[in-house]
């Protein structure tokens, strides 16, 4: 089986999963109580006529089956309709916000991997000694922390008390207004535009949210790295490498870590779901204009089209990441043959 066919086979499995997720979202949104029209007309002079008018306009008075088929069709076309709340095409709004979430998630994941792998390797090397125990407890603590609380504590200390970092947003307002983004990933765009000051401003705004996200996710990676390293360290080739008289540092890096990486990559990939959940709270705390915050705002105004769009988008994104991880895993693990 070639790589292409393997990917196709994985894709074939992704499709029914997405279909199930889509149906689940539909059930949650359309069948559970909550009325978008009343939410929109909100507490003003709502007459039955205006309500009926609104339902008609939003297509909520059609049979559920028709709505469902319509919904599936639009999901496939990646056309999520027009947001009830903002009147903008949902797809457009999502693409506008996605780069912000992606940037945050990417740096969060990089930070988490660095922290997690470093602490995991360290703990495994110091296995069963005091350092190992401390690292393990710290790792448990790190994924036992409410992410919004860490975010708020960071804000309180680094932004309010010591004024080292801004309290939210992605760029200084003036700079942002005068700056024309390219990809909307600011750490890249500012460099592409060759503006170092702006790049620093983007990094400056990114540090606290990314670190918040990184800390929470690092615990899982650290834990996985440690156990995977422990497995590998007992293997023959490590013993052989040691026997050859290689420096311990080389043994750890070349022989142990390289082999332990496979399960670590999988964990990192699978943590993207966790990362998205973390992003909701991180974005809330840091006024980060990403998809998660958009989803939360859409939920509180019962903006069905926007919620659907955002959730489907997240589902697509996670499926894509999982697919990538699988392919990467297949590449790394010599036991899987195409």
């Amino acid at each position: 089986m070639g790589v292409g066919r393997y990917i196709l086979a994985r894709l074939a499995l992704t499709v029914p999963m997405l279909l199930i997720l889509l149906s689940l979202v539909f059930i949650i949104l359309r069948i559970l109580p909550g009325d978008p029209c009343l939410a929109l007309l909100g507490g003003r002079n709502v007459t039955p006529e205006r309500l009926a008018e609104c339902r008609e306009l939003l297509g909520l008075n059609r049979p559920l089956v028709v709505q469902y088929m319509d919904y599936l069709g639009s999901a496939v076309r990646l056309d999520f309709g027009t947001s009830i709340r903002t009147g903008m095409p949902v797809t457009e709004e999502l693409w506008l916000r996605f780069p912000a979430t992606f940037e945050l998630a990417l740096y969060g994941m990089l930070g988490a991997t660095a922290l997690g792998v470093a602490s995991g390797v360290y703990a495994s090397v110091r296995h069963d000694r005091r350092a190992d125990h401390i690292v393990r407890v710290v790792n448990i603590a790190s994924f036992s922390m409410p992410i919004f609380w860490i975010g708020l504590m960071f804000l309180m200390l680094f932004a309010v008390r010591w004024r080292l970092f801004p309290a939210g947003g992605r760029l200084d307002p003036v700079a942002a207004a005068l700056f024309t983004p390219i990809t909307n990933i600011y750490t890249i765009d500012t460099l592409l535009r060759g503006d170092l000051r702006l790049f620093l401003s983007a990094v400056h705004h990114l540090v606290l949210p990314a670190l918040t996200l990184a800390i929470v996710v690092s615990g899982f990676i650290g834990r996985m790295t440690r156990s995977s390293m422990l497995d590998v360290l007992d293997r023959e080739y490590v013993t052989v490498a040691r026997a050859k008289g290689l420096r311990e540092r080389t043994v750890i890096r070349r022989h142990a870590l390289a082999n332990a990486l496979i399960p670590i990559v999988t964990v990192v990939g699978l943590q993207f779901a966790l990362l998205m959940a973390g992003a909701i709270l991180t974005e809330t705390v840091y006024s980060w204009p990403g998809i998660a915050r958009y989803l939360l705002e859409s939920i509180s105004s019962r903006d069905f089209t926007a919620i659907q769009g955002a959730v489907i988008f997240i589902a697509f994104f996670i499926s894509a990441v999982n697919l990538l991880v699988d392919v990467f895993y297949a590449r790394l693990d010599p036991r899987i043959r195409f």
Partner: protein, 275 residues
């Protein structure tokens, strides 16, 4: 037998959980003040006796709120995990045992739910159902069902091919009897490693839900809600309002996490490295 050296995680985890849960249950005797009534203190008084964690804007004692504030998270986490434990395990047994189309469909549905961020799903469900205890439990239980399903199903697949199962079937035992008398009990040890991690996670989910305003109505004390309350005093420097509820959540969640990790260690002890 527990040994202090080897089982330090399990022991300290149990200690932490024991202390917090006991304090919560005995809250009326432990907490010095009524958590919902104003004390004679001034509003927003910094920590200091007799208000060890200060007072909030409604002159309530923060320490007492911390003691009572564990009730809802613990209740929600334990109940929802119990529900998903039962539901997920049953479905897992059935899927694993029945095999065929039913198994494929169930597995696919569970994988789909599992792949999606639990918190986002829980928020969507609670937002649609409305806030409240039952809805929160339902939402959290729902999102954790796949976790148990996967473990239980995997175990059934491993166990069903073993000899004693074949034997019971050969002796003409009914399918249900084979499943529940012979297969199911053997999957339980593996399933039972899940709940403590799961509860640790559910505590965080509950905290996030009430932080976002989907929790119980005021003035019920609840750590997540109290963090949300403290958020509005972040700039003004009343640090105690936000710090203590967060520490309480971490304490309890770490406790359960340690129990989970410790149980894991006992069930699959790592090979000791050659000295």
């Amino acid at each position: 037998m527990l040994r202090l050296g080897r089982d330090y995680l399990l022991i300290s985890g149990m200690l932490i959980v024991g202390v917090v849960v006991t304090a919560t249950i005995l809250a009326p005797f432990v907490a010095p003040f009524d958590p919902t009534a104003p004390t004679p203190a001034e509003r927003l008084q910094p920590p200091g006796p007799p208000y060890y964690m200060g007072t909030d804007q409604l002159q309530r004692d923060v320490f007492s709120r911390m003691i009572y504030g564990g009730r809802i998270p613990i209740l929600v986490a334990v109940l929802s995990c119990a529900i998903s434990l039962v539901g997920g395990t049953l479905l897992g047994w059935i899927a694993g045992f029945a095999g065929g189309r039913l198994d494929r469909v169930l597995s696919l549905v569970m994988d789909a739910i599992y792949s999606f961020p639990a918190l986002i799903l829980a928020i969507a469900i609670v937002a649609m159902l409305g806030p409240g205890l039952a809805n929160m439990i339902a939402a959290i239980a729902f999102v954790y069902i796949p976790t148990y399903f996967r473990v239980a199903r995997g175990q059934v697949l491993a166990v069903r091919v073993q000899e004693f199962v074949e034997a019971s079937r050969a002796l003409g035992a009914s399918r249900a009897r084979t499943l529940f008398r012979h297969i199911a009990p053997n999957t339980l040890p593996a399933v039972m490693t899940v709940p403590s991690f799961n509860i640790a996670d559910a505590i965080l989910t509950e905290a996030a839900l009430s932080f976002l305003g989907f929790g119980l109505p005021p003035p019920t004390p609840d750590w997540g809600f109290d963090i949300q309350n403290g958020q509005k005093f972040l700039q003004a420097g009343f640090w105690w309002l936000i710090t203590f509820p967060g520490l309480m959540i971490i304490l309890l969640s770490v406790g359960f996490g340690m129990i989970g990790e410790g149980t894991n260690d006992r069930l699959n002890p790592r090979r000791r490295r050659a000295a």
